[in-house]
């Protein structure tokens, strides 16, 4: 029976949105314990088919919920007792941290990432760690050393990646929200593939203390939820300067209000470079329809140019692997993780890294090492960093005449598992529309905007100037007030 409406066979608690859970808990419609039981039951029942989770912290989550029930929740804006899942690249004290890699098998995190800590301090309960491409490198979760996650809209397809576990868990209504990370599209692309709302924050907006570093000048922490309003709750609670992360920005986090019901006065730029040959026709028409709808809501639609877009992919595949090759040097079998048997220390390094890193991570370490090696630095890394400046300038020029950019999140919908198995470059092309935002450090959001002929979700992407997550979330909210794409749930 539905506790909210009293009808039989209606929504079970885990299917409620974050804001509905808040209301229900504050009204006393159900207890924290009941909510947690429903969440854990849903995970136990459905995760075997999805494989969204690498670790479920059932006992600890239930204990936290029972403890929370000791005092009433009087404020309907409180985050207390709300369940959240965490991508397994973020540390949570005393829980496993694998990064989807064999090289961290058995590792138990000794401290909690600031982003997660802030949510816990606000009362949220971590229910588990979600699957990811190894070290967040990939667009499908197929690169996880622990097996891929399945897309709840079609189990034979990938959920996107690298935060595919978090996206699938939210899409399947196992959790109302989950954290992910976005270095080249790893929140927005899986959000698009799974039909959920995915916010990539501005570079520096959310602390990365406790996030295992991949591409240090690109990595951001983001959130998946069922609506922009829900995503805003989590975003607001975790954003802000952290003394433990010197790259976190001291920029005020505005209170985001959702009073607006139209888009009057909003100038929306539509970049022609984001409508490319080979793009799936249904994606293009859904995005164009969404832009028309924004126009009917009062937005002014302005065609714009982002002329260096075509260089984003080569720039990214120099900078991200270069930074990754340096960051992943710390995994050497000496201080943590498993160690391959060897007679000398030198052999320990080579064998441990050779045996424990998967193919994609190895590839990227090698590209990065090559790009940074003597004689090649200027031609590759130097040229990439200069071109990155041009990409950033494209956005600065665009934002001089528009408030927000609207485009597709991905050129096509979720692909069948194994489709890019022997072609890493084809996999990289999945991210052509998401990479530029990481290079420029700007925030972006992907929201559901339709379905293709196979019933797979289509993602609409908004991009905004640095630190304007408020504008992204407000615009997405207005769109979600007049559409119901984000309310559709997969049957799997």
């Amino acid at each position: 029976m539905c506790v909210l409406c009293g009808k039989k066979n209606m929504t079970s608690l885990n299917e409620l949105s974050l804001t509905q859970m808040q209301t229900g808990l504050a009204r006393g419609d159900f207890s924290s314990r009941e909510l947690m039981q429903s969440t854990l039951d849903a995970v136990a029942k459905h995760d075997p088919a999805l494989h969204a989770f690498l670790h479920v912290a059932s006992e600890r989550a239930m204990q936290d919920a029972i403890e929370s029930d000791q005092s009433p929740i009087s404020n309907s804006r409180s985050l207390r007792s709300l369940p959240i899942a965490i991508k397994d690249v973020l540390s949570v004290e005393n829980l496993p941290l694998t990064c989807g890699s064999k090289i961290l098998e058995g590792f138990i995190a000794p401290f909690t990432a600031t982003s997660v800590k802030k949510l816990q301090d606000a009362g949220m309960i971590v229910i588990g760690k979600t699957n990811t491409d190894e070290f967040a490198m990939g667009s499908s979760t197929e690169n996880s050393a622990y097996g891929r996650t399945n897309n709840p809209w079609d189990l034979s397809r990938v959920p996107g990646g690298s935060s595919g576990g978090s996206a699938a868990a939210v899409a399947a209504r196992l959790v109302p929200a989950a954290l992910g990370t976005d270095t080249g599209g790893s929140v927005r692309q899986p959000a698009a593939f799974c039909g959920v709302t995915g916010l990539k924050t501005t570079y520096g907006r959310v602390s990365r203390y406790g996030l295992v570093a991949f591409g240090s000048s690109l990595d951001t922490v983001g959130v998946f939820a069922r609506s922009a309003e829900d995503a805003a709750l989590v975003f607001s609670a975790m954003a802000g300067r952290d003394p433990l992360d010197a790259t976190s920005a001291d920029v005020t986090v505005p209170k985001i209000n959702f009073d607006k019901t139209d888009l009057r006065g909003l100038r929306v730029g539509v970049p022609q470079e984001y409508f490319i040959e080979g793009m799936q026709a249904e994606v293009e028409s859904a995005v164009r329809a969404a832009i028309e709808q924004m126009k009917s809501l009062g937005a002014e639609i302005i065609p714009i140019r982002l002329p260096h877009t075509e260089y984003a992919l080569p720039v990214y595949y120099i900078i991200a692997p270069a930074e990754a090759s340096a960051n992943l040097a710390r995994f050497d079998g000496v201080r943590y993780g498993p160690r391959s048997e060897a007679d000398t220390l030198w052999e320990v390094f080579f064998k441990t890294r050779g045996e424990k890193f998967g193919a994609e991570v190895t590839r990227r370490i090698m590209i990065g090492t090559y790009a940074l090696s003597a004689g090649y630095y200027d031609a590759y890394y130097g040229q990439a960093q200069k071109t990155r400046t041009l990409i950033t300038r494209d956005f600065e020029q665009a934002f001089a005449s528009v408030d927000l950019i609207a485009a597709a999140t991905t050129p096509s919908t979720a692909f069948v598992a194994g489709a890019h198995e022997n072609n890493p470059l084809a996999m990289y092309l999945e991210d052509v529309f998401t990479l530029p935002a990481n290079l420029a450090g700007i925030p972006g959001i992907s929201i559901p905007a339709g379905f293709d002929n196979n019933g797979l979700p289509i993602g609409l992407q908004f991009l905004a100037p640095r630190f304007r997550e408020d504008l992204l979330l407000q615009t997405a909210h207005v769109y979600q007030q007049v559409t119901d794409w984000h309310t559709r749930a997969p049957k799997f």
């Binding site: 000794p110 010197a246 001291d250 050779g354 090698m366 090696s373 640095r466």
Partner: protein, 95 residues
């Protein structure tokens, strides 16, 4: 420009990665096609463009030079593959 096996071996050695012969050949082919794609950047004239450094526009922050509690020795050693007393243990560095 295709990489040679020798170049792949050099990169793997710099990156401390042990690769089988089959892996070397596979990565040689895959890295070559990725580098071909990346070579597109060479067509851009960037002589007057400053490189991006770091990912942040904010200034370098300074903090007070104060002692702060870190992890305990026990916590630091908890995930070690092998330890000896209060130290990480590794195989010999020299014969």
């Amino acid at each position: 420009m295709p990489l040679t096996i020798k170049e792949v071996e050099h990169i793997a050695s710099l990156a401390r990665l042990q690769l089988s012969d089959a892996q070397k050949e596979r990565y040689r082919a895959q890295l070559s096609s990725i580098l071909d794609h990346i070579a597109k950047l060479k067509e851009l004239d960037t002589r007057d463009v400053p490189p991006t450094t770091g990912g942040s526009l904010t200034e370098m922050p300074l903090r007070a030079d104060e002692v702060r509690a870190g992890l305990t020795l026990e916590q630091v050693l908890a995930n070690a593959p092998e330890k000896h007393g209060d130290q990480f243990k590794v195989p010999p560095v020299f014969e």
